[in-house]
């Protein structure tokens, strides 16, 4: 059913308010955590939310974090929209890093644009394979994808560490006997452009934004994308309409994992210029929050990844200022997830939506969508 633009506007307004409200509740609960951890919550939040915005370093770092978050978030949105939950971002990032770095190291003399494209492609394949395993098992063996992706995360960590300590280790680390588990540095041709001298801000952010537009066009303007969303919204109806649900589930997970893999490539080519331990910094999980906070929509995920880039950089600054470990941000993100999924009760119920809208000062619109259908 096509919706009128007034309806769309109403829904957007209501969901924005509800999501922001969820964020507020999570931050208030987080304040108690700060208090328990022995810090003044107001001062902690002050540092966390304001300090990154007050200087060049904070602003650029926020965008450096936003780029991988955006890609992981886009992938997760593709999966969620197609009716499959991808919790395996963390492992898919690592596989992307492995595949991308391997190609980057193997072809150091390829011209820059070609090499960067090749690394992205390899990382997409790596992450896509890892995600595809879970998608295939869900589609054809009915294995719960949450459990399989979580298990694949734990396996990926071990595979990753094995490769970094053994086959892929920097020959110099072996020669000098230092043995740091990391690969050799990538050639200059495999490094993304950095814009400002002395800061890490790189072209990965622009690439991620461009990909967000691609995902939007793919999901909403192509037949394949429409089918994927249809399968996610109403699998039974989609089956009756002759769509291959299983095929779409696998495709969704391959794409989702592929995007997480590309987030890994961005970290390698833009930030570290090599594969190293703990390269992902929890982006696989933060990406879930980014996707939910962005309303599972590419154009919402772009600003949403900025918000969480800010929170993550801010948490590091907060750790130095008030001496509470930055890991507290993980707990706050967990609260945000819980708050947002709980608010679905209000988002999906048309009566509730109308109530919220009228509280905002909007006119009530006659009920047109009694099922509260997802778009």
């Amino acid at each position: 059913m096509e919706k009128s633009s007034a309806d769309k506007y109403r829904e957007l307004a209501v969901s924005t308010v509800i999501v922001l409200f969820s964020l507020m509740i999570a931050l208030i609960l987080g304040a108690f955590l700060f208090a328990v951890a022995g810090a003044n919550p107001l001062r902690a939040y002050g540092v966390m939310l304001a300090q990154p915005l007050s200087g060049m370093f904070g602003l650029t770092e926020m965008m450096v974090r936003a780029a991988p978050l955006m890609l992981v978030g886009l992938g997760i949105a593709i999966a969620f929209r197609s009716g499959i939950l991808n919790i395996g971002g963390e492992g898919q990032i690592m596989l992307g890093v492995v595949f991308g770095t391997a190609v980057g190291l193997a072809l150091p003399n390829l011209p820059k644009p070609l090499l960067i494209a090749a690394v992205f492609l390899a990382a997409f394949v790596g992450g896509g394979l890892w995600g595809g395993i879970a998608g295939w098992m869900r589609a054809y063996l009915n294995v719960n994808e949450i459990l399989s992706t979580v298990m694949l995360n734990y396996i990926a960590v071990q595979v990753y560490q094995y490769l970094l300590r053994g086959p892929m280790i920097d020959p110099n680390e072996v020669a000098y006997g230092t043995g740091v588990p990391q690969t050799a540095l990538l050639s200059e041709n495999a490094r993304l452009i950095r814009y400002i001298q002395g800061f890490r801000l790189h072209s990965g952010l622009l690439i991620a934004i461009a990909l967000a537009v691609v995902v939007f066009l793919f999901l909403w303007k192509t037949t394949v994308g429409y089918r994927m969303r249809a399968v996610g919204a109403e699998p039974k109806a989609a089956t009756y309409a002759g769509m291959n649900v299983k095929h779409n589930l696998v495709l969704a997970m391959v794409l989702s994992g592929g995007f997480a893999g590309m987030a890994g490539a961005i970290e390698v080519m833009g930030v570290h210029h090599r594969a190293m331990e703990s390269i992902s910094a929890g982006y696989g999980f933060s990406g879930i929050v980014v996707a939910l906070f962005g309303g599972l929509h590419p154009l919402g995920i772009v600003p949403s990844s900025m918000v969480f880039g800010l929170l993550i950089v801010g948490a590091d600054m907060m750790q130095r200022a008030v001496d509470v470990p930055a890991s507290i941000i993980l707990a706050i993100q967990g609260l945000i997830i819980v708050a947002i999924v709980s608010s679905n009760l209000f988002l999906k119920n048309p009566k509730m939506r109308d109530k919220v809208f009228s509280l905002l000062g909007g006119r009530k619109i006659a009920e047109r969508d009694p099922e509260g259908g997802r778009t």
């Binding site: 694949l152 509470v324 819980v338």
Partner: protein
């Protein structure tokens, strides 16, 4: 040497199975009532920390266990609020709970303890007479008291689930909530009870890990055991005995992986560590044909207004 390894695996595996067993039996009640709680891992982590910390402060394992169970129950209650009252997507909310438990336990551990510290938790208690049975005695009857409790809970859970009126209600609510509702069973209340019970059991699982098994705490101590416990419910086909065999199988695989390292068998360490997780995936994949015995309403919030 083979016999040595086999006995080593059994001796090492039984104590490892207790945390899986507690968490998995608890999760089973939740799933039987129709709620899929993926937050088990987070609940175990936070309660493992709380239990550890109280023993660290006051030296009382009993206090630690009780507090861990209370924390687990509270987090279970939160999960029930989110999934039953707010009717949220259960997979995602569980992941939120996981991140919450991980973040809080890691943060508070760094703030209040700092580094790895050992505590005097609960040791093994040998059962008089029985422990003197040759071979089997030392294996089966020289365990942590919580291990005995975990295995005792298997028949108890079976009895509660299949022989009591409450167990019947739980199964009814998880299979056909509409019918149960029609017959006057309070669907929401039963689900709240089951998910909270699951939280308490996960709390006990966490306490056993930090106070009994490891006698210390470290960030991410549970290392996926909470998720494995959820998978075991599938593996055990929602039956306490099945869950028990699953828990034993996985802990013995874990013990085997450890003895591979101890005996210095040439095998990449990382691959050995990954084996139990790989096993979970394989087992889930291989048992797919038997999956249609689960609670029909699993994962579906019940809404009185839309009877289907």
């Amino acid at each position: 040497m083979i016999l040595e390894v086999v006995i080593g695996v059994i001796v090492g595996g039984i104590p490892l199975s207790a945390s899986l067993l507690f968490a998995s039996l608890g999760e089973m009640f939740g799933q039987r009532s129709g709620v899929f709680n993926l937050g088990t891992e987070g609940i175990m982590m936070l309660s493992a920390f709380v239990g550890f910390y109280l023993v660290y402060l006051f030296g009382s394992p009993v206090l630690g266990i009780v507090a861990a169970m209370a924390v687990g129950g509270l987090m279970g209650l939160l999960m029930a609020l989110v999934s039953v009252t707010f009717k949220a997507e259960q997979g995602i909310s569980g992941i939120g709970l996981y991140m919450f438990g991980w973040g809080v336990s890691g943060t508070l551990f760094r703030v209040y303890v700092g580094g790895v510290t050992n505590i005097d938790g609960i040791g093994r208690i040998a059962v008089p007479v029985l422990k003197d049975i040759p071979v089997l005695g030392p294996i089966l009857f020289n365990q942590n008291p919580l291990v005995y409790l975990a295995f005792l809970l298997v028949p108890v859970s079976s009895y509660v689930l299949f022989k009591t009126p409450w167990g019947l209600k739980v199964r009814a609510v998880g299979t056909t909530p509409q019918a149960a509702d029609t017959l006057g069973v309070n669907v929401q209340r039963i689900r709240y009870q089951c998910v909270t019970l699951g939280g308490v059991m996960s709390g006990l699982a966490g306490a056993y890990l930090s106070i009994g098994q490891a006698q210390m705490f470290a960030d991410n101590l549970t290392a996926g055991r909470g998720f494995i416990a959820v998978a075991l419910v599938y593996f055990g086909r929602w039956k306490p005995s099945g869950v028990m065999w699953g828990a034993l199988l996985f802990s013995m695989a874990h013990a085997l992986q450890r003895s591979i390292q101890v005996y210095g068998i040439e095998f990449p360490y990382e691959i050995a560590v990954a084996t139990p997780y790989l096993m979970v995936i394989l087992v889930l994949a291989l048992t797919y044909k038997e999956r249609n015995v689960g609670p029909l309403a699993l994962g579906k919030p019940y809404n009185r207004e839309f009877r289907g």
